[in-house]
């Protein structure tokens, strides 16, 4: 029965109505598809960025719309030691934490790339620090670093290695290192998992070929793994640097920039001045001053590391 029905079937010539024709018209379709994304980006990205830059050139405070003051905010900033302290710590924090995250992250990725028992379980565990909300991490570290109740201090004292609590966050340099420690702990999973994904794209036969070519383990890392991982490393590092440089939550939740402004990052200082202090214009100027750093970091890793001749196509001679 179905056979006869199939034989008798003829495709109908469908009459298209105006809506169908409109949806088939490419310019209209392009605009329709782009509109939601463009609208979201405009409202939540372009407008705040534009407003921030605008505010940086005004003397707006909370409750009073300001007037254009030109570069006054920036001139004040340049003579402000707290700002320069924040610049220094932002760069220091980013540099040290990035080295720590990539050193440990790469090491973890290499370990996890081997055949281990419970491999997928271990990989899932590795991700934990990353999926925990940052504020929870911050609170946990706040307790770990607590002057009275720190578990690290407790362990050291119980083991008889120390007789007083360790000072983690109450003086400038220990506080700076402690925050970097917390940031590294939180940032490792992202680096490790990204690099692990990169490692798994390297064909095992390259290692076999290198094995037959007489390489040692270190030589395989040096000549095969590392150069082949470099493009992914560059991209992950760009992201990591941006996230670390603009970090806010960890520092604000653990030390609020203290003691005596010694651990202010540019983001926390901008918030402190703009929202807590009410000087919106000044805060915006500090926030805007991060833009050149970020653009430079992005361009550097993008151009210096990401493109390699061997990755490009055939017609390149």
């Amino acid at each position: 029965m179905s056979a006869t029905a199939a034989e008798g079937w003829i495709r109908k010539n469908q009459e298209q109505n105006w809506l169908t024709r409109l949806l088939d018209w490419k310019p209209f379709l392009v605009v329709m598809c782009l509109l939601p994304a463009v609208a979201l980006l405009m409202v939540f990205l372009t407008y705040p960025l534009g407003l921030g830059i605008w505010l940086a050139f005004t003397d707006t405070t909370i409750g009073r719309s300001g007037v254009w003051v030109g570069l006054e905010n920036f001139e004040f900033m340049m003579e402000d030691p707290i700002f320069w302290n924040a610049v220094f710590y932002s760069v220091f924090y980013t540099a040290v934490a990035t080295v720590g995250k990539f050193g440990l992250g790469l090491w973890l990725a290499l370990l996890l790339n081997n055949h281990l028992p419970f491999k997928s379980f271990l990989r899932a565990i590795i991700l934990l620090p990353w999926i925990v909300p940052t504020v929870l991490t911050a609170i946990a570290f706040w307790w770990i670093y607590n002057p009275q109740f720190s578990i690290i201090s407790w362990v050291f004292i119980e083991l008889g290695l120390r007789d007083s609590n360790i000072d983690f966050i109450n003086t400038a340099w220990p506080a700076r290192w402690s925050l970097i420690g917390a940031n590294v702990w939180r940032g490792i999973p992202f680096v490790a998992i990204s690099l692990l994904a990169g490692l798994q794209t390297i064909s095992p036969s390259l290692y076999e070929a290198a094995l037959l070519d007489g390489s040692t383990g270190w030589q395989r890392f040096r000549y095969i793994t590392f150069p082949m991982l470099l493009p992914i490393l560059a991209i992950v590092m760009t992201f990591s640097i941006i996230f670390t440089f603009t970090d806010f939550q960890l520092v604000y939740a653990i030390t609020r920039g203290g003691p005596v402004n010694s651990t202010h990052l540019l983001a926390t200082l901008a918030f402190q001045r703009g929202i807590a202090g009410g000087q919106l214009g000044e805060g915006a100027a500090i926030a805007v001053s991060m833009i050149p750093f970020l653009v430079f970091a992005t361009l550097f890793s993008y151009f210096a590391l990401a493109r390699r001749k061997w990755q490009q196509g055939e017609s390149n001679d």
Partner: protein, 348 residues
Amino acid sequence: MATVDIRDVRKAFGSTQILHGVSVGIEDGQFVVLVGPSGCGKSTLLRMLAGLENITGGEIAIGGRVVNNVPPKDRDIAMVFQNYALYPHMTVFQNMAFSMKLAGAPKEVMEREVQKAAKILGLEQLLHRFPRQLSGGQRQRVAMGRAIVRNPQVFLFDEPLSNLDAKLRVQMRSEIKELHQRLKVTTVYVTHDQIEAMTMADLIVVMNHGRIEQAGAPLELYDRPANTFVAGFIGSPAMNMMEGRIEGGAFRGPGGVAWPLPPGAPASGEVIYGIRPEHLRLDPNGLPASVHVIEPTGSETQVVMHLGDASVIGAFRERITARPGETLPVSPDTSLVHLFDKGTGQRI
């Protein structure tokens, strides 16, 4: 250059037996092809020779030295991988010089050896290129160059031509053979393509399910296959095989067709009767075959015919004008008929 002795080698992954005791003796300078269908264990055997897989049982000796526990780099072998395994971030020169660089060879030596190998393979103009910028055949040559530079005692090839198109495959086939004749290095070559095996090998080892079915010179395998597996594997189109019994001085095939027997055939019994397509000939007094499909290739005509209940392929030098459904009288060349035991599949 060296002999290679494979003695009762076994391989198991967990409880899965891959190789069930394989023994091959390879003479110095021989070109040996391991051939068999996918999963027969030929690549595993090659990787065991290279030292990339552990040996579960038995012994492998290269140049008289047992290498079971010798790491790959100390076995003095070079391998060409199926996907070439060229280092994508190194130029052709760096790829070929890599083993020497690891060994700490001076620049002049690296330069000299690479140039020498590049000249043999016609790669001089490509030394500064990256693998990405090469064609398939050129990458194949670089992979061979990387092996030649090592100046090894044994070359191992793991299906090196399977990523090339048909025309290039034929060309590279003869290049590899020519290279072997020139360098005279013992070579073990793995392929699933019986034509590659036939055209290149001094010694073919046919493997199936982790066992050696037969080892011998190409024409020996073609002329005297030891069993039905080898008979069906070697030769293209494959040998026609029919089950039946010997009765009254003839083989009674499917549908009761009486096929003539070769000289010295047993007087009775259940057998498998094998005849290669190219050993059927047109004969006015032959068996009446009904033509099913005609495939002219130019140099010969392949005809799928029905004889009794059996479907038989014939390959004829003559141009055949018969149409499907017509009858074509054919007869086998009785001196080239193969008989196999029906139970064991072994040659009678």
